[in-house]
Subunit: 717 residues, 2 copies
C-alpha cells in the first residue's frame, strides 16, 4: 500500500509541478502579475513608455529585462518611444543622455563610481520622467535590476531617488567545477557548464545565470575548480570558454579560469614550471596572450598553489610571491588580475594549522604586484559553521586581500539544511581586527578603505548546479543572493537581505516575511548549535564531511583528523591556541589577544577554539561545560523543529512545489540534527564520564552504531 506520506507528496506535487517548477528556476527574479488594480494603475502611470538612449548589447539586456518584468507585472507589452515624453522611463548611460537630463543628476553622477547607478524621478523640461543611468552600461544594467526590484518590493516610484555604487570591485563566484561535469563540494547536481557541447550549444541557463548575477551585481565568474586541470588552457577549451564569455559579456560579467601551476608541463611541453625559469615565464605570457586574443575582457587567473597536493612555486624552492608575480606579469598587459589563494597548510609542519597561512603569507606583505589579490578564507581553518575571522585580515596592509566565502554548504549540511549564510558572512565582515584601532573591521580591510587599496574583491564558492532550481535547497538561493548583495556592500544588514529575498522570492505578506525572516536569521546559530557549538570545529566525518565524525583519528595527515581539532580526553576538550598552547592568538591584535586569551573574557562562542577546558569547567550560567555543550546540541535540535513548525504555517504563502520540497528537507534537517547531537554527545561522554542533562533525550543508538555508519556516495566530492 502507498503510505499516506507519499500520497500526500503525490497530491502536492504531481499536478502542480507542471506549472510551478518554473518558480524555483526563476530565483528571486519573480515578476508576478500585480493583482491589485490600484497599485497597478499607480505604477503604470509612472511607466508610460520606455525611452532608451544609446545602443549596445548591455542596453539590449536591460531593455529585454524591463520588457519581461513589465509583461510579468502588468500583463502588457512595454512600449518603446522614439522621442521623450511625459512619465517615460528613461534609460541610457551618462554620455548618451541629453544635456538637460544629465544635468538633473549631476550631483549623483559625481557621487557614483564606474559601476554605480542612479534611479531618479526628474523633470525633463516641463514633464516628469524616471531616469535610470550610470557611467557605464554595466552600471545602468544594475540600476535596471534595482528598479525592477523596487516594483517587486512594491515600493513607491513616484518620487524615487536612489543611487548606489559597489564598494568592492571584483565580485566573483568561484565554481569548483571539474571538466568531467562533477562539482567538488557541489550539492546541486552536475556542473552547469556543458563543456562537451560548448561552444555550439548555448544553454538558456547560461543567460539566466548571467541575469541572476547581474541582478545582484556579481561581475565575475571563475569557471573551473581551484583543484585545477590544465586542459582548460588548451585551444580546444579556450574556444569553449570564449563562448561563455560572449554570453556573459552583455551582463557585465568577466570570466576567469583557474591556472594549474604545472600547466607549462602538462598543457605545454616544458620540463619545469619553475616561475623563475624564462621559458616558463614566456609560456604563461604567451598563454595569456592567446587567451586574450580570444577573450579581450578575460578576467585573469585564480590559483591554488602548494595547497592540499596542488603544485606550486614551492615545488621549485620558490615563493608564493614568485609564482603570483609571474602570472601577474603575464596578464598585466591585458588588464587581468591574479587571485592567489592563501589557503595553505602542510602536513609536514607540526605547527597549528590555524597559524600556517598567516605565517607563510604575512612576511610577503608589499611584495606582490599591483594586480595580485591574495584570496583569504573567512576563517583560519576551512569554512566551518563558525570560525573567528582569519588573522591575515588586517595583517597585510600593503597587500590587497580578497575575501573568500563559501556559499556551498560543505560543512553546513550540504543542500539539505536551511542555513542563511549572509548572517555568517556578516559576522565575519563586522569583526573588528583592531589593527588601526577600534572600528578596523574586516569589511574595511576588504573594501580597501582601511589601508587605501586600489584593488578589492570578494569571492563566493558557488552552490550552483544543474538542479532545476539551481541550488537544490530552495533556500540555498538566498545564499547566492546574499553573497552578491554583501559583495556589493559589505556593510549591509543581513536581516534586510533576508527580508528582501523572501519578498522577491516568495511573498510580501507580513505574516510570511516576519516569521520567516526570523527563521533565516536564527538558522545559522542553529546549525552551529547542533554541529559545532562553543567553538568546536572540523569534527565532521571524513572526506565528504557528511555528518558527525569526531572520532576519526586514522587519516594520513594529522590535521585532517577531527581529534586534532577537539583534543578531547578525560581531562577536557578544546584546542589551546593561547600562549600556553599553539599561540595562534598571537596572530591577532593586542586587544583581541587579551580578550580571547582570557578564559573569563573569551566569547563563549569561541571558547573551545582558543581554550582547552575541563569538562566540569563552570561557565557563565553557573553550569558545567559538559552541561552547556549538551544544552547547545539539544537547543539546536529544538530550533530545527521550531523552524519546521514555522514553515508548516507558511503553506498559504508559497507555491506547493517549493513548500513541499522545503518541508521534506526540514524533515531531513531534523533527523540529521538529532544524529549530530546523539553521535557527538555519546562520543564526548566517553571522556567527560558525566550524565546527560535530563532534557536531552536518550540517544536512539549506541556510539558504535554512529561510528559504523558509512556513506561512500555522499555527494559533492
Amino acid at each position: 500500500m502507498v503510505s499516506k506520506k507519499f500520497l500526500l507528496a503525490l497530491v502536492f506535487y504531481c499536478f502542480v509541478s507542471s506549472l510551478q517548477a518554473q518558480k524555483g528556476y526563476d530565483l528571486w527574479l519573480q515578476y508576478e502579475k500585480i493583482e491589485n488594480e490600484e497599485i497597478k494603475k499607480k505604477y503604470l502611470r509612472d511607466l508610460n513608455i520606455l525611452k532608451i538612449y544609446g545602443e549596445n548589447a548591455t542596453l539590449d539586456a536591460a531593455r529585454e529585462e524591463l520588457i519581461l518584468a513589465y509583461k510579468g507585472f502588468f500583463g502588457e507589452e512595454f512600449q518603446e518611444a522614439d522621442i521623450l515624453s511625459k512619465n517615460a522611463l528613461v534609460i541610457g548611460v551618462q554620455e548618451d543622455l541629453p544635456l538637460n537630463i544629465r544635468t538633473a543628476v549631476k550631483k549623483e553622477l559625481a557621487e557614483i563610481n564606474e559601476e554605480g547607478y542612479i534611479i531618479k524621478n526628474i523633470s525633463a523640461g516641463n514633464f516628469p520622467v524616471t531616469l535610470i543611468t550610470g557611467k557605464t552600461s554595466a552600471g545602468l544594467l544594475y540600476g535596471t535590476f534595482r528598479f525592477i526590484k523596487e516594483i517587486q518590493l512594491r515600493n513607491d516610484l513616484s518620487s524615487i531617488a536612489i543611487h548606489s555604487s559597489p564598494k568592492i570591485q571584483k565580485r566573483v563566484l568561484n565554481h569548483w567545477d571539474n571538466l568531467d561535469g562533477t562539482v567538488e563540494r557541489g550539492y546541486a547536481g552536475f556542473s552547469i557548464w556543458d563543456w562537451h557541447h560548448l561552444p555550439q550549444l548555448i544553454k538558456p541557463e547560461y543567460i539566466d545565470y548571467a541575469r541572476a548575477n547581474a541582478s545582484i551585481g556579481i561581475n565575475g565568474t571563475v569557471l573551473t575548480n581551484v583543484n585545477a586541470n590544465s586542459l582548460v588552457l588548451t585551444p580546444h577549451y579556450i574556444e569553449k570558454v570564449k563562448a561563455l564569455a560572449e554570453v556573459f559579456r552583455p551582463y557585465g560579467i568577466q570570466v576567469y579560469l583557474t591556472a594549474r601551476f604545472s600547466a607549462p608541463m602538462e598543457s605545454g611541453d616544458l620540463e619545469t614550471a619553475d616561475p623563475l625559469v624564462p621559458e616558463v615565464r614566456r609560456w604563461w605570457k604567451e598563454k595569456a596572450d592567446e587567451i586574450y586574443t580570444e577573450i579581450p575582457d578575460f578576467g585573469g587567473f585564480l590559483v591554488k598553489a602548494n595547497s592540499e597536493g596542488q603544485p606550486g612555486p614551492n615545488n621549485y624552492g620558490r615563493s608564493h610571491v614568485d609564482g603570483a608575480n609571474m602570472l601577474a606579469e603575464a596578464v598585466a598587459p591585458h588588464g587581468g588580475i591574479i587571485m592567489w589563494r592563501a589557503f595553505v597548510y602542510s602536513e609536514h609542519d607540526p605547527e597549528d594549522r590555524a597559524k600556517q597561512a598567516y605565517s607563510e603569507f604575512v612576511p610577503f606583505d608589499g611584495q606582490f604586484h599591483d594586480n595580485v589579490l591574495v584570496q583569504v578564507k573567512n576563517g583560519p581553518i576551512d569554512f566551518q559553521p563558525r570560525e573567528p575571522f582569519h588573522p591575515m585580515f588586517g595583517a597585510m596592509p600593503q597587500t590587497p586581500l580578497m575575501m573568500e566565502f563559501q556559499i556551498t554548504q560543505e560543512y553546513l549540511g550540504f543542500s539539505s539544511h536551511l542555513v542563511f549564510l549572509p548572517k555568517m558572512f556578516e559576522e565575519t565582515l563586522d569583526e573588528d581586527t583592531f589593527v588601526e584601532g577600534e572600528g578596523s573591521t574586516v569589511a574595511k580591510v576588504i573594501d580597501g578603505t582601511l589601508a587605501n587599496k586600489n584593488l578589492t574583491g570578494m569571492a563566493g564558492v558557488a552552490n550552483i548546479g544543474t538542479a532545476k532550481n539551481w541550488t537544490g535547497h530552495p533556500f540555498g538561493q538566498a545564499n547566492w543572493y546574499g553573497f552578491g548583495r554583501l559583495a556589493w556592500d559589505p556593510y549591509l544588514d543581513s536581516g534586510k537581505i533576508a527580508e528582501e529575498w523572501l519578498k522577491m522570492t516568495f511573498s510580501r505578506e507580513p505574516a510570511f516575511v516576519d516569521p520567516m525572516t526570523r527563521v533565516l536569521m536564527d538558522s545559522r546559530e542553529t546549525v552551529v548549535n547542533y554541529m559545532t557549538p562553543l567553538g568546536l570545529h572540523h569534527i565532521m566525518a571524513t572526506g565528504h564531511h557528511y555528518g558527525p565524525g569526531p572520532w576519526v583519528d586514522d587519516l594520513g595527515r594529522p590535521e585532517w583528523n577531527p581529534v586534532y581539532y577537539h583534543q578531547a580526553d578525560s581531562l577536557g576538550v578544546g584546542f589551546d591556541r593561547t600562549a600556553s598552547g599553539s599561540n595562534a592568538l598571537s596572530q591577532y591584535a593586542q586587544s583581541i589577544r587579551e580578550q580571547y586569551g582570557s578564559l573569563d573574557r573569551v566569547p563563549e562562542k569561541h571558547l573551545l577554539w582558543f581554550h582547552r577546558v575541563p569538562w566540569d569547567y563552570e561557565m557563565k550560567n553557573g553550569k558545567t561545560l559538559w552541561y552547556n555543550l549538551a544544552a547547545k546540541y539539544q537547543q539546536g535540535v529544538e530550533e530545527v523543529q521550531e523552524m519546521a513548525r514555522t514553515w508548516k504555517n507558511m503553506e498559504q504563502y508559497v507555491d506547493e512545489e517549493r513548500f513541499t520540497k522545503t518541508a521534506m528537507l526540514l524533515e531531513i534537517q531534523q533527523k540529521e540534527a538529532k544524529w549530530w547531537r546523539d553521535a557527538v554527545l555519546l562520543y564526548f561522554q566517553q571522556f567527560s564520564g558525566m550524565e546527560l542533562p535530563r532534557f536531552v533525550p536518550k540517544p536512539e543508538h549506541k556510539l558504535e552504531y554512529y561510528k559504523s555508519l558509512e556513506f561512500p556516495y555522499a555527494p559533492g566530492i
Copy 2:
C-alpha cells in the same frame, strides 16, 4: 564584441526561457489550450462531467491526470459527479462498474488482457456516456492516458470505440545509474535518483517520470546499473528503493534492482558466492524475503554476470543456469522474476565475439526456471547503428527471451544527434528468423507467440537524466516514447509513432508533421551513413565511443579494438563471418545463411558485417566498394545538412527554446558527421590507396590530426 550568433541566442532564449522551459520538461504530455472554439465545444459536450467508480491510488492518479488535462485543454475544472448523468466520462475497473455499463463492453472485456483497456461511447440506459475501463486499475490508467492522447491528437470522441492490450508483459526501462549519481552511457546529466536524499525527499520528477511511463505503458524500471553495486541490497538502500516503489506503484510501475553476483560476499559476509553452496542460496533467499517485506510488489533482479569483468557463476565453475535459477528460486515465492543478460563474451575466447553469446546460451535452452527471462541485445555485438538481429532470437524455443534495446545513444551520437530509434527497433523486430518458416519474426519471438511463451519482456536502456528536458536532446524524448509504444505493441509502425509523437510534443500542423516525420524516419539511416555504412561496426573511439576511432588497435582485449571489427588492409575490408571465416552465419536459419552467405545476395547494408571484400569490389550500382563507401559517408553528411535545413523552416511551429536548442544541436551533428566522414575515409584510404570521388570534399585536416584528438571528459562513462 558579442558575435551575432550569441546575440541571436540571447534574444531567442533569454526572455522565452521563463515561459517555455516547461515545455521540454512536459515531454509528450502537453495539454495545451484548445483555441478553436468549435472544436472545444464539441469536446466539452462529450465531457460533461466525470464519474468515477471505485477508489484506490491508481484511480486517484487517473482522476488527477484527467483534471490536469481538462484544465489544460479547456481552462476549466473538470467537475466530478456523484451520480451518473448524460455525456459523462465514466472511469472504473470492470468489477466496480454497474452491471448495465459492464454489459455494454462485454465483448471487449473478453478480448483484452489484464493490462488492457477499453474506451467506448456507450448508452447507459437512456443517455450516452464515454467509458474508460479495464480489468485492473493499471489498465484503466493506460486507457485514461490513451483517452487524453485522443484529444491531444484532436480525434473525434463522439463515437469512440478503442480497445487495446499490451502484447508484451514486462515493459521495462533499464537505468544504468550508479549510486554516486553518475549514469553509465548517460548523456542527460546526473541520475534522476537522488539517493542521498531518499527516502525523505520525494522529487516531483519521480512522479512525472511515473506519469510519462504510465502514459506509454511502461510497467517496470530497473533503478540501478547492470554493472552493479551490492550496496543497493543493504537495508539503508532498500529503504530508499521502497520510497521510490511507493511513488511508482499507483502508476502500475514495479521497481527492479540489479543484483551483483558477488553480493553475498560484499553486502553479506559469506566467503563465496558459488550458486550451489547452500549458504549462498539461503543468503539470496533471505535477501529476497527482506526486500519483499518492504516492497511487496518488487519486480525482481536484472543480472549481468560473467560479462566485462562482472562476477558470475563461472567464477565458481558454475553455469549461467546455476546462477539464474538460484536467484529465480529466491524471488519465485514472491512472484518475482530474474532478467539474466546474455551479453557475454570473453577476451580469452579466440572465437568471433559475435558468436559467443549464442554459443554459451543456446545449449541451456529449456533449463532455466519459469521465472527467468534471458535478456538479449538486439544485435550480436553491442548497440551499433546497425546490426543484423541477434541469432539467439528464435534459437531458444523453450526459453523466454527478452529484448534489450538501447535508448541512450551510446554509439549513435550521444544526446547530440537527432536519431529516431524506433525506426531501428522496428527493423530488428520485423526481421524474419525463419526458425518456424517464413514469418517467424523477432517480434513473434519476443511477444511469445512464436513458441507460446508465458513470460515476455522488452527492456530499454534509458536515456533519462537530470537534464531539464529529461533527455538532453529534445528529440531524445521520441526514443523513450517510441520504446514504450513498441514494448506495448512490437508490430506498430514506426512512422505512426513518429507522427503521433510529433503531434503530441510540438504541433499538429501538417506543414510541420509531414516534413518532420520524414526527418525522423530518415534519421537512422543517416547516422548509419555517416558513421558505419555498408555493415561497418564498432569503429568508434575507445571507452567513451565519442567520434571515430577506426585506427584503435592497442587495447588490452582484442575484441575491444575497432581494427578487430573492420579488418582493413590493402586487400580489403570487412569481417568474414561466412563459412570461410568465423562462420557466425551458421547461427542463423538456413535461408538466412544462404542469402547472407552469398556476396551477391547479402543485403548491402550488411555487406561488411558478413564479408571481407576487396576495395575495388564491384557493387550493384557498378561502382567499387571504395566509391560506395565514400558515397555513403558523403550522403550521411548531406542528409544531416538537409535535416538542419528542414528544421530551420519549422520555427513557426515550435517554441523558441526547443527550436533554438535543436538548431544548435543540428549544427553539432553536422560538424560531427563531417568529422566521421573525413576521419574514416582518410583512415581507410591508407589501405584502399584509391582517390576519393570528386563529390566528397577534401578533408579539412590530415589523418594524424583526427588520430590525435582526445576527449578525456566525453560524457557518459
